[in-house]
């Protein structure tokens, strides 16, 4: 495994109009971690991912992937956008969407062929969607759409994955399947960064986390930084699900207040 940091974000500032969305964020993501980015709505989680991918204009700062600029290392980075970011009524089928993950490696003008198709089918097998390869994407459920996007990222064969809410709108079974897939990616030495909403599952699913609210509040191993104090700093006084006097305690079932509940 590479000892270098997978992602290095330095002095990153992003503003939409006059309002800063991200303010002077310094973040290092070590290679081979499974990291959750958490924070309230409007904290800039999606913007952080998009800034790393050069999809938004940054006011200041730079992003390095394994020590080099993102433009140079683009091929190493895979992306799973939010499910709602595309029109699922587009006239195409599941296999075609997954093959789009190979378009970058194919380069200009070349058409996807048998090799791309085989890779797409293998990725669909991995996410449990091989039965749906020929299905129209308009006929998929939310969880299936999410898995199609995951398969598309898998065929990118990236070293670093950035995923924007891959659990949004999926049922519990699918969520577990996705988590074990992410853990498998980490076991292969890849780095996975996930925008996550459910605080309850952070200690269970992830080994690394970043708490974000326009500024970076903390980042590091979950056991060290996923503390009541940091959560309070991130969410204001609104989080009360951790037991008192137990900074790293397990979530209490009867007091569940994920972000969505507030």
């Amino acid at each position: 495994m590479n000892s270098e940091a997978a992602i290095t974000v330095e002095d990153l500032t992003v503003a939409y109009g006059e309002k800063p969305v991200l303010w002077d964020v310094d973040l290092t993501v070590p290679s081979g971690v499974l990291m959750a980015i958490i924070g309230p709505n409007g904290a800039g989680k999606t913007t952080l991912i998009k800034a790393v991918l050069d999809l938004v204009n940054t006011a200041a700062g730079q992003v390095l992937i394994y020590g080099e600029s993102y433009q140079k290392q683009r091929r190493l980075v895979g992306y799973v956008p939010q499910r709602g970011s595309v029109d699922w009524d587009f006239p195409t089928n599941v296999k075609d969407v997954v093959m789009m993950g190979r378009y970058g490696a194919l380069g200009w003008l070349k058409r996807p062929g048998r090799q791309e198709r085989d890779m797409a089918l293998a990725a669909l097998e991995k996410v449990g969607m091989s039965r749906y390869a020929e299905r129209q994407i308009s006929q998929l459920s939310g969880g299936q759409q999410q898995r199609v996007f995951l398969a598309r990222a898998l065929v990118q064969d990236a070293l670093v994955y950035l995923m924007d809410e891959p659990f949004q709108g999926v049922d519990a079974t699918t969520e577990r399947a996705i988590v074990s897939l992410l853990q498998e990616l980490r076991a292969q030495g890849r780095t996975v960064v996930v925008v996550h909403h459910d605080l309850q599952t952070v200690p269970e699913y992830f080994d690394w986390t970043a708490l974000l609210n326009v500024r970076l509040i903390a980042s590091g191993p979950v056991q060290e930084v996923f503390t009541e104090e940091n959560l309070r700093l991130t969410y204001g006084g609104r989080v009360s699900f951790l037991r008192h006097g137990e900074p790293n305690g397990a979530p209490e079932a009867e007091k569940r207040t994920g972000e969505r509940g507030i």
């Binding site: 683009r74 992306y79 029109d87 006239p91 969407v97 003008l109 058409r111 079974t173």
Partner: protein, 381 residues
Amino acid sequence: MDVPGLFSDLFFDYTLRTIALGSAILGIVSGALGSYAVLRKQSLLGDAMSHAALPGIALAFLLTGSKMPLVLIVGAAAAGWVATLFIMSIVNTTRVKYDTALGMVLSVFFGFGLVLLTIIQKRPDATQAGLDKFLFGQAAALLERDVVTMGILGASAILITMLLWKEFKLLSFDPDFASTLGFPVRILDIILTTLIVIAIVLGLQTVGVVLMSAMIVAPAASARQWTDNLGIMIILSAFFGALAGISGALLSASVPRLPTGPTIVVSVSVIVIVSMLLAPRRGILWRWWRERRQRGRLRLEGILEDLYSLALEHNDPGHAHSLSVLRLMSAGKGGVEKSLEILSERGLVRAVRPGEWALTTAGLEEAEKTMSERSGMSDER
């Protein structure tokens, strides 16, 4: 109208052949490229660009004094481009939304174009004659050299679309993802928009600035109804465009002083209406018919299940039950008697006595099958 005569003229009459060929080219190109405009939810961009082309045509004529189609097309394309740039910069630098910016630019450019056109027409010399044909289009004015120009431009546009097939597909479906793969999304966007501008200016002389956007939107929207495959959609859209183009142009050419724009729009509207109504899966009639059939099937299944559960309660598959009980169980949905008759025709139920019904052996199997199918379906995520 002498239809057979018109058809023989189509092949042997020089003027009609030119008109039909030109209209077919414009239909193919606008149909194919319009597909991307529709899929990228930029249908109105075509409207704005075609209206904005009018001052470009007028200015090109004022500056050069020429009515050569190529000169006017270049003027139209330039004005369409400037309008698009205006729209983009308004959206990027102000809080004005896209549709508002579109509406503003469209009307300002079109108004300016009308003013220029009026000025031109008041000039004493006779050279201006025919420029106002660009408002509603006049296919009859097409010359062979116009058709050659249209053919070359159109073929280049289609060729580029075919070469950049996968890039345009990805750009239309998920531009952010395209960007992360390293494709220069902004440049691709400019190329695709330019191709749409070409498609529009190709049709201006024939269809006119007012109604040209119909040729961008309508064939593509119709084609989308019939297929879920991008390639087939584009081919179908080009075919619909050509069909509407040819029939509209011939209609206009056979009636004196009837402009082509309106006749083409009438033709393409027929295609739209038929597609919206009849297309399998997406068509209105198809959906209505399927819902009706579904409702009918559910009603039959419901009665079978009611009889089945009654039979279970009585521990006797052949136990007969009165119509009124079944009516009660179907919760006032009505049509119970008719459904029972249909079921008995299929041999699934039988009338033991008048007004008393029971499952047959086949009916028992059918009920068990549908019930297990339904519970199987709820397991499937």
